[in-house]
């Protein structure tokens, strides 16, 4: 085919494609095509699976990118073959073709080629599967427990990281960079799934089982995640974040988490808040070191009130950025952006600063204390708890007065 003939042929091809599409649907077709060509993706999507920030996620990404590329090419070949035969073999009055029933040699070849491509993919896949399942190179262990609808983190004693007493936290997983962290996951009620896309794929948290997931971050940063196994009513509101800190910053975080309880100043609003807390919240929420008026330690008993048997430990609530299963920010919008958008050099210090009075997201925290089930759907209506024998799944409406809410907020702000 010489050049001009080729040109003519292409022209005919394009015009017949357009004719086939039909005049009126042309615009629609054009628009959808254009939007696909222009289709870039969201920038800085926090849960992007194509932006690995650690070696485990990188391993997955290195494996999947060529697979996506090969799949794209094969898809294109199929589409071109279909379009070509549609244009080339359109009924233009040609005679009925010979009734051939196939060419076995061609069939076998076209069967073996995709099988070979897949065999190559399989070899690399196997390698990655076993690398991602390794547990013998672990440097640090964090126990992760899912329940409706939040995550609890429990750091067992690990002297090499300065963890000399167990640390219990929730919502945000704080970990040192460049350290091979092994999560040991389980659940207290239904199946949940732990997923920080920038650091690794998912691993389900299954009640009655302990399953492991490797995490490692290259640089300090905050990485968003979301529970990805449907876990009931508020599945959409079960989020989490992994916060990677430099080793020095992580040591500071550990030290703060182990710091002794500081009671609020005498006669302050916060002290009145402590009393409200002791009256209401301590039934489920533990604050380590908190004493009752009679001098006995206040021990929370969530197992008596909550079906899963646990509620978030609030000892160092204000060292976290988020609350209620990472559904809401503890930081106001401006302060939040400052932390989240900080460079990897400065993010550690900004995160460790915690939540100050000026930065507190008063609005959401107050609404939560006012009526939690209204902000996040939960099974907390006392008249509808027949199935659980009267126990809540989630936090109930507490009928707190606005005064009590102000006192509680003041008290919670002291839980640095």
């Amino acid at each position: 085919m010489n050049h001009s003939a080729k040109h003519l042929y292409l022209k005919r091809l394009v015009t017949s494609v357009l004719r086939m599409v039909g005049k009126k649907s042309q615009t629609l077709f054009g628009v959808s095509l254009l939007s696909f060509i222009a289709a870039s993706c969201a920038t800085n999507a926090p849960q992007d699976t194509w932006q690995p920030k650690g070696p485990n996620a990188k391993l997955i990404d290195d494996l999947q990118q060529p697979v996506f590329a090969v799949a794209g090419v094969i898809g294109l070949i199929v589409a071109v073959a279909v379009i070509y035969s549609v244009l080339k073999y359109k009924d233009r009055g040609q005679p009925i073709p010979e009734q051939t029933h196939g060419k076995p040699a061609l069939e076998i070849t076209l069967t073996i080629i995709p099988a070979l491509i897949l065999a190559v993919v399989a070899v690399f896949t196997f390698g990655a599967i076993f690398k991602l399942a390794k547990t013998d190179d672990t440097e640090m262990i964090i126990n992760v427990t899912g329940q409706q609808w939040w995550w609890e983190y429990d750091y067992p004693v690990q002297n090499e990281f300065g963890i000399t007493q167990p640390i219990i936290s929730s919502g945000q997983l704080v970990m040192p960079v460049g350290t091979k962290v092994l999560l040991r996951e389980t659940s207290r009620d239904v199946i949940h799934s732990y997923w920080i896309p920038a650091l690794n794929g998912k691993r389900d948290a299954v009640p009655g089982r302990i399953q492991t997931l490797r995490l490692e971050a290259d640089k300090p940063g905050i990485f968003a995640g979301q529970c990805t196994e449907f876990c009931g009513l508020s599945h959409a509101n079960m989020r989490m974040e992994a916060v990677a800190l430099s080793k020095a910053d992580f040591a500071k975080w550990v030290a703060n988490q182990q710091a002794a309880y500081v009671a609020p100043e005498k006669d302050s609003l916060a002290q009145q808040g402590e009393a409200v807390f002791l009256n209401q919240c301590v039934r489920c929420h533990q604050v380590n070191g908190l004493m009752r008026a009679d001098g006995t330690p206040a021990i929370a008993a969530p197992d008596e009130n909550v079906w899963a048997g646990a509620a978030p430990n609030l000892t160092h609530l204000m060292s976290r950025n988020t609350f209620a299963g990472a559904s809401f920010d503890l930081l106001s919008k401006q302060c939040r952006d400052e932390v989240w958008n900080a460079s990897s050099d400065t993010i550690g210090a900004k995160y460790l600063a915690g939540v100050s009075q000026d930065c507190l997201n008063q609005k959401d925290l107050r609404s939560w204390l006012r009526n939690a089930p209204e902000m996040k759907p939960m099974y907390a209506n006392p008249t509808q708890l027949e199935a659980t024998g009267g126990k809540y799944r989630g936090m109930p409406y507490l009928a707190l007065s606005e005064d009590d809410i102000s006192k509680l907020v003041a008290y919670l702000l002291t839980l640095k």
């Binding site: 920038t43 896949t125 990805t228």
Partner: protein
């Protein structure tokens, strides 16, 4: 041939079938009016009833989908609350899988398998009717839950322990489990019936390798159903006992492992995927050769790849569980089997393209849907291959990427195939052709709508939007114009374009029904036996059972190859072939008589399950209905005595002729 009961001169004394009704009811004989439908055992009428009911549930499931897309059109949607949203996506999937695609395929199978193999009905006509009524009552039963305290809210996969009584205190899941149990029995009876029909009732000369490809694919599907449905039956029994009778199969505190449910569900659930797409593969494999004027390329390869998919489909279930903690060895094995199943699937795509290659392509609406299926199913197949790479799947699973993937498979594959079949076989079923111009619009709007709806979900999933969330928030949506809000809006707009496309189909049906123009006898120049009879076929299908010499028998009766040039020349028209058949019509054709009992028996089942949920007394009442229906069924004579009919059987072919046209 079990069903074609020819008149016999001497009654054999050992016949076990009772000849009187023992004071119970006579067999119904009405040939017109509602009785002709409600008590029918005719495979064609039942096929149409399956189709109409499935279409109704398609609309129900579609409305559920639109509500989901309305809720997700913008961040922090307020159309549905969390509870209702969870019910909505559970019921959308349940409805589309169990109440639309499966029964629609059952409808096609019912109608066309006997016609394609040259039989006069299925092997067990009353059981066939029972199957339809159980499906209908089961479907209604599941949807009753909407009005009695709320529908099932555990997702169609209904993972334990979230499906237990503590975590889902409404009766939705009870209705769901019992209702699916009933439709499951329907699938089982249908599977046994069609397998026996295909194996025993083919026309003389039709060896298995001369059987039309649609019948082949449907046969594979029936075997899949036969083995897959019992697995979900067991799982549903465990679930129902857990919820209604205090059993503790999935109770971790009692030592259970909740992964048991996942294994049971997906051992059923993955073959189920092939149960949903293979019927459409069969339809496409019929339509492409007809409109390419060429036989299916590599017929034996397509047959065996279908059978291979049927076998390997049993060894891939755990790829739904790559994130559940199976351990690396299991994950590696299921990765490999999943890649392996891509090969026979690819064979089909290659054969479809090569069927068109070198053909004489006629772009009817049916053909367009089939070509659309090749391209769009390929997209779904390829994204499926990316899941077989298990580490990659741990990033994608439970995100919108999966939603995109299986909608390209089930909508791009399953539903487009169904629409192709509807356009192709409409003149056969109703004697009129659907409007082709409207069909063109129907096709393009559906294809554009489906790509707008499900295409962006690839991007959303890969950028980290998880499934089954009743709201997405701006905080996790990314920045720039093309953030999650944008793509979700595109998907929502797409779903309305898609809806318009489907509405055009319904409009087309109405217009066609009102149009008096009859279809020609052989409007598409077709190739297989179902076109070798009138439109719609007479009640007894064929005046004379054809003897088969070729794959594509009908085509080879119309055309002959010129030995010198290898071109085909016409030797007979469809009308001539039809006239020839009428001249040689069988003298005595005795069709199975209608029966009251299938609908009565089927009605008893939801009464039992309703009683299981609310009051065991009601269940006893339902059991009594079932018992007496079975009793009446057993004592019913196999055919109504000739004296029951108004016209006697002196001239059966003409008498039945009028029956068929009613």
């Amino acid at each position: 041939m079990a069903i074609i009961e020819r008149e016999i001169e001497v009654m054999a004394p050992m016949v076990a079938t009772p000849t009187s009704t023992y004071g119970v009811l006579k067999r119904p004989v009405a040939a017109t009016g509602w009785r002709a439908w409600v008590f029918t055992v005719d495979h064609k009428k039942l096929g149409l009833m399956y189709g109409v009911t499935a279409m109704f549930f398609f609309i129900v499931g579609g409305v559920e989908a639109l509500l989901i897309r309305l809720q997700l059109a913008a961040p922090n949607g307020k159309v549905l609350n969390a509870d209702l949203y969870n019910q909505m996506f559970t019921m959308h999937a349940t409805t589309m899988v169990f109440l639309f695609v499966m029964p629609m395929a059952a409808g096609f199978a019912n109608y066309f398998i006997p016609l394609q193999i040259g039989a006069r009905d299925v092997a067990f006509p009353r059981m066939n009717a029972l199957g339809f009524w159980m499906f209908l009552f089961g479907g209604i039963f599941i949807n009753l839950s909407w009005f009695i305290g709320g529908a099932a809210d555990g997702g169609w996969f209904m993972y334990a322990p979230n499906s237990g009584p503590v975590f889902s205190p409404t009766h939705g899941i009870d209705f769901w489990a019992f209702g699916l149990q009933i439709t499951g029995i329907a699938s089982l009876t249908g599977a046994i019936n069609l397998i026996v029909t295909v194996l025993n009732m083919r026309a003389p000369g039709m060896t298995l390798m001369k059987m039309p490809i649609f019948t082949w694919m449907m046969t594979v599907v029936q075997f899949l159903l036969l083995f897959a449905v019992p697995v979900i039956t067991v799982a549903l029994f465990l679930l129902s006992f857990q919820r209604n009778f205090g059993a503790r199969f999935f109770d971790v505190a009692a030592g259970a492992d909740p992964l048991l449910w996942q294994h049971l569900f997906w051992i059923f659930g993955h073959p189920e995927v092939y149960i949903l797409v293979l019927p459409s593969f069969g339809i496409v494999s019929e339509v492409l050769p007809v409109f390419s004027r060429k036989p299916l390329f590599g017929y034996p390869f397509v047959v065996f790849s279908g059978a291979a998919i049927g076998f390997v489909g049993w060894g891939v279930w755990a790829h739904h569980m790559f994130a559940s903690g199976l351990g690396p060895v299991s994950v590696a094995v299921f990765s490999l089997t999943t890649m392996a199943i891509a090969v026979p699937t690819g064979v089909k795509i290659i054969n479809w393209i090569l069927t068109m290659w070198g053909g004489k392509l006629v772009f009817s609406t049916a053909m367009k849907f089939s070509i659309g299926l090749i391209v769009l199913f390929t997209v779904g197949g390829l994204s499926g291959v990316t899941h077989s790479v298990a580490p990659s799947d741990t990033q994608q699973t439970d995100t919108y990427y999966i939603v995109a993937h299986f909608h390209y498979v089930l909508f791009g594959g399953g539903v487009l195939g169904i629409f192709s079949g509807l356009y192709y076989w409409w003149p056969k079923m109703f004697g009129k052709m659907l409007n082709e111009r409207l069909g063109n619009w129907n096709f393009w709007l559906m294809v554009i709508g489906m790509n707008l709806t499900f295409g962006p979900m690839h991007i959303l999933g890969l950028q980290g939007q998880p499934r089954r969330m009743y709201q997405f928030t701006e905080a996790r949506s990314g920045e720039g114009l093309f953030n999650f809000a944008f793509w979700n809006l595109v998907a929502s707009i797409g779903s309305f374009v898609l809806t318009i496309g489907i509405l055009l189909f319904l409009i087309n049906v109405v217009i066609t029904a009102r149009n008096p123009t009859k279809s020609p006898l052989d409007p598409w120049n077709s190739r297989s036996l179902e076109w070798m009879t009138s439109n719609p076929p007479k009640e007894h299908n064929f005046d004379v059972i054809p003897t088969v010499h070729h794959l594509d028998e009908f085509f080879h009766r119309k055309y002959e190859e010129d030995p010198a040039t290898h071109t085909m020349r016409q030797i007979a028209t469809a009308e001539e072939i039809m006239a020839e058949q009428e001249r040689n019509a069988d003298a005595h054709i005795h069709m199975p008589s209608p029966s009251y009992w299938p609908i009565v028996l089927a009605f008893g089942l939801p009464v039992i399950t309703f009683g299981m949920i609310f009051s065991h007394l009601i269940a006893v009442f339902g059991a009594v209905i079932v018992f007496f229906a079975a009793f009446g069924w057993a004592l019913e004579p196999s055919t109504a005595p000739a004296s029951d009919f108004e016209t006697n059987n002196s001239a059966p072919s003409t008498a039945l002729d009028t029956v068929g046209k009613s």
